[in-house]
């Protein structure tokens, strides 16, 4: 990799990192935080990013690891994807995170790339932003002035633009535990195992008690259907009360499918070599149906 030149700062603690970041930004430097480097380094290689300085937090001892905190699970920003997907806490208590993380790139990337880095990069083609949005995660960020919390619905501002103020570092994410009765699925469509999602769908579905198969609540968010991850509110609303009985039985209309046909509402799908907007809209509908069926089934 032959990137443009930059200053390299490797702080010894998170506090020092916040200070370094604050100082650099005050000095007018364009600073980027480097953790696992799996998104930032390719941008540097292609000279699509010209930061004047990198603050490398990749070797800090914390915030790292997964912790069960009662009503939510806290995932430290520096936890690698591999650690996340192997964590029994994650698998049992926030399974959607495990399902989506397992689809991230390949083992080499998952051993270096971090949970927080992937989210702070705010790439709508990444798998985790849609999951965070669907689950209403809370982002915990820190600066020299202290900590604040940002709800997922406000974190993803625009393409590659998170709601981080200058001098702020993402330290971790509170992932709410959904209670019993919820089913989960992450449906990812991609050209090769290592490609980004052409479209992805994160789905959480809660069916009514008593085995009736009626949707009580659903949370759906889409990967790569706009400059930010997209919450499919129209689908969520239309699914409420829909019957999960086998598709098309008794000649009744498949209300699940009808609901999922609204998946692309409010999306602004991108165009790239792997799909135009029209194809992506179509995929969003098909994949949302599959994700909801899998989550509820």
């Amino acid at each position: 990799m032959i990137s443009a030149p930059f200053d390299y700062i490797r702080p010894a603690s998170l506090e020092e990192a916040c200070r370094a970041l604050g100082d650099a930004e005050e000095a007018g430097d364009d600073v980027k935080v480097l953790a696992g480097g799996q998104s930032l380094l390719p941008l540097l290689r292609l000279r699509l990013a010209y930061p004047s300085a990198l603050v490398d937090i990749g070797r800090l001892p914390e915030p790292r690891g997964v912790e069960d905190r009662g009503d939510h699970v806290f995932v430290g920003a520096l936890t690698t994807h591999d650690e996340v997907m192997r964590s029994s806490v994650v698998r049992e208590l926030i399974p959607l995170v495990a399902l989506a993380t397992a689809t991230v790139a390949d083992p080499a990337v998952r051993h270096r790339g971090t949970f927080g880095g992937s989210l702070a990069h705010a790439d709508p083609a990444g798998d985790l932003p849609a999951v965070a949005l669907a689950l209403d995660c809370v982002f915990v960020v820190r600066s020299v002035d202290g900590e604040r919390e940002i709800p997922a619905s406000e974190f993803f501002v625009d393409y590659l633009e998170p709601a981080l103020e200058p001098g702020e570092i993402l330290v971790g994410v509170r992932v709410p535990k959904l209670g019993p009765g919820w089913g989960f699925h992450y449906e990812k469509f991609h050209r090769t195992a290592q490609s980004w999602a052409t479209v992805g769908v994160a789905a959480a579905v809660r069916l009514g008690e008593g085995g009736g198969g009626t949707v009580e609540e659903a949370r759906i968010a889409l990967t790569n259907m706009g400059p930010t991850p997209v919450r499919a509110h129209a689908v969520e609303a239309a699914l409420r009360g829909a019957d999960f009985a086998p598709s098309g039985s008794n000649g009744a209309p498949d209300r699940i499918r009808e609901a999922c046909d609204r998946a692309d509402e409010g999306s602004v799908p991108p165009t790239d070599l792997h799909g135009g907007p029209e194809y992506r809209r179509h995929l969003a509908r098909v994949l949302t149906y599959r994700a909801v069926r899998a989550a509820g089934g």
């Binding site: 032959i2 443009a4 030149p5 390719p42 290689r45 292609l46 390949d106 469509f189 050209r191 090769t192 195992a193 290592q194 490609s195 980004w196 052409t198 498949d254 499918r257 009808e258 999922c260 046909d261 165009t271 790239d272 070599l273 792997h274 799909g275 135009g276 907007p277 029209e278 194809y279 809209r281 179509h282 995929l283 509908r285 098909v286 994949l287 149906y289």
Partner: protein, 826 residues
Amino acid sequence: MTEQLDAGLVAERIAESDQLGRPSDAHEVGRARRRKEDARLVTGRTTWTDNIQLPGMLYVAFLRSPMAHARITRIDTSAARARPGVVAVHSGQDFADEQGSLPCAWPVTEDILIPDHPPMAVNEVRYAGEAVACVVATDRHRAADALEAIEVDYEPLEAVVDMTEALAEGAPRVHESGNRAFTWKFAQGDIDAAFRDAPVVIEREYVQQRLIPTAMEPRAVVAATDGETFTLHSSTQIPHVLRVMLAMTTGIPEHRLRVIAPDVGGGFGSKLQVTAEEVLALLLTRRLGKPVKWTESRSEGNLTVHHGRDQLQRIRIAAERDGRVRGVKVELLADMGAYLMLVTPGIPLLGAFMYSGIYKMDAYDFTCTGVFTTKMPTDAYRGAGRPEATFAIERAVDELAAELGLDPVEVRRRNWITHEEFPYTTVCGLTYDSGNYEAATDRALALFGYDALRAEQAERRARRDPVQLGVGVSTYTEMCGLAPSRVLGSLSYGAGGWEHATVRMLPTGKVEVVTGTSPHGQGHETAWSQITADALGVPFEDVTVLHGDTAISHKGMDTYGSRSLVVGGVAVLSACEKVKDRARELAAHMLEASADDIEFSDGSFKVRGTAQGRTIQELALAAFAAHDLPDGFEPSLDAESTFDPDNFSFPHGTHLCAVEVDTETGASRIRSYVAVDDVGSVVNPLIVEGQVHGGIAQGIGQALFEEAIHDSEGNLLTTTMSDYLIPSAADLPEFTTDRTETPATSNPLGVKGVGEAGTIASTPAVVNAIVDALRPYGVHDVRMPCTPERVWRTIAEARSTGPAGTGGPPEASAAGSAPTSEGGLR
């Protein structure tokens, strides 16, 4: 003889070959030896060009045109010269008198246009990525940074991206002389008679999309001089050809130029080239008196390594109602890109003789027009011309079968050359020496479970499953073992097709084999050692193979076109035979017997009917000591051989592919893949297995994933591996492979070559399967690569244009939203 080689068996073979020493009755040839070169290659304890560090070495970086076609009106390098660490900055103008023109060694017609091809553009750029200036600096980072300080003014000219438009009246010109490089014709038999009143005519157009070869090791060059002689290290497949061509291009006398290809990490034809960077590295080291190194980045490679394929094919088949083919007519447009490089115009012609495939017919007619466009030149890429030909004929034969309502295997049976008919001279004039298409096909059908898959297909069609199943057939042959020099001469190629080997008996009985082939992943060190061990009766471990350095291996034609074993391996065998002849003469002298009475077995020369003898090692020492040699006997057992084949070789095989097509998303998933190849006799089954696997993967890459895409301005959009997709193991199915062995009769080893077989066979097998899955929807073709979006659109278009009630499964609501004009790239 057929022999199944599943993974378990291969593992067993490896264990066997590791356990056995060398029992005296065992042959090395045919043994699944693990490759002796692999330990150093996979651990990296070896020399790649980019590892080379020379004292005082400087680093080169190239500034490349951001436009496909433009006039250079001004270049200002002064700011770049002032950057730290910068030693020199040059534009093309600085080298205008010195750099010459990159060579094209294959003027296929007398009136071919071969435009001047300056290594660095001087006045005009003709493809995006063409070098316009270079920086030489004390490290590679400074060189790259300084590129940003070079100012270039371009006056844009119209890009020429599309071949058909390039040939239209009044089209903008890539070169003053015009956009038509050549038109080459070939005809046999009475093609008009074949098509006149033909009961069935199939006419199809296929697009061979442009591919990027993507060798694992990017190109790299190190050039150095002591003022008198020049040494060029390059990640090349052709050190010998390169030396000759560079001597002609740069004016450095050939005897003062040494070219070294150290270990090379793949080429697939992309390193069968004389590149601008190689020439400029030599010129820079000559100018600066210091060693220089250049290593490309992956994105730079995507732009400026020559591309492959890129043809528009129109194929017509005239046939009887029973499916028997009367004649084939082919018209090609071949995209040359902006210049003719080493063998650019010859690539489509390597396919010209293969459009008749394995089939008998009375007439054949072929026309190819080479077209200039403002894109990176095309040239050899795995299979080079033959995959294109095989794709067209194998796709078209499937179309013929569909048209006639016949099974595609049955149509092939009615047309192919039967095993009793060999040697068989095809309509194209090639004499196929041996083959057994029936055996390979029967074996493949059995392994594949053809009938069961057809039953499942019918069942899915009946139940209108959104996931449809397709079966694809490809019965290929290829023209390998390039090449008889006389034939190359008749095709106006600039060189011969022989290969050279030297076998040196060292005083201690060890053996050095010097080969003119230039392995870059193929395993020649292992295979040549096996051939030598058997021929001379020495242990496999006692043989070292030297290659890739013109000061060590002075003569060779290098590695491409499945030629190394078929030509180079035979040269090794032939040199070994000469060593044996000399050893026999020496043994006869030492044993006081007549040479006619000396028998050779197991490395010993014995007097017939006695136990008296000398081992080859003893004879090597005796020749070295030279105390007691026959009169006039030179004190050496060494021998060399230059082998020029009489004929090509013709590997063949049957590949079968089952694909599940998800009609809702357009995704294609290969469910099973069976390859039964006949590559003649086999020196090392493990190496053959590896070549087949890699080849199939690469052919699947063309079918499903790969395409170099340009925008309308001629800019390459697929400059990274997230845009130019190549399949990894995770994207591929298990391959079931097997072989039939019908030895070649044209060489003493009976070998045919295997380097390109998988790639040639697999592309049509996959696409045939996808089209087969979608025939109920009215689909007759899917343009490659068969991306999910393209498959989805093809289904939708067939539905909207096809006759009503053509039987496609009903549309589920989400699946049925037909595309409108909202967009999407092709």
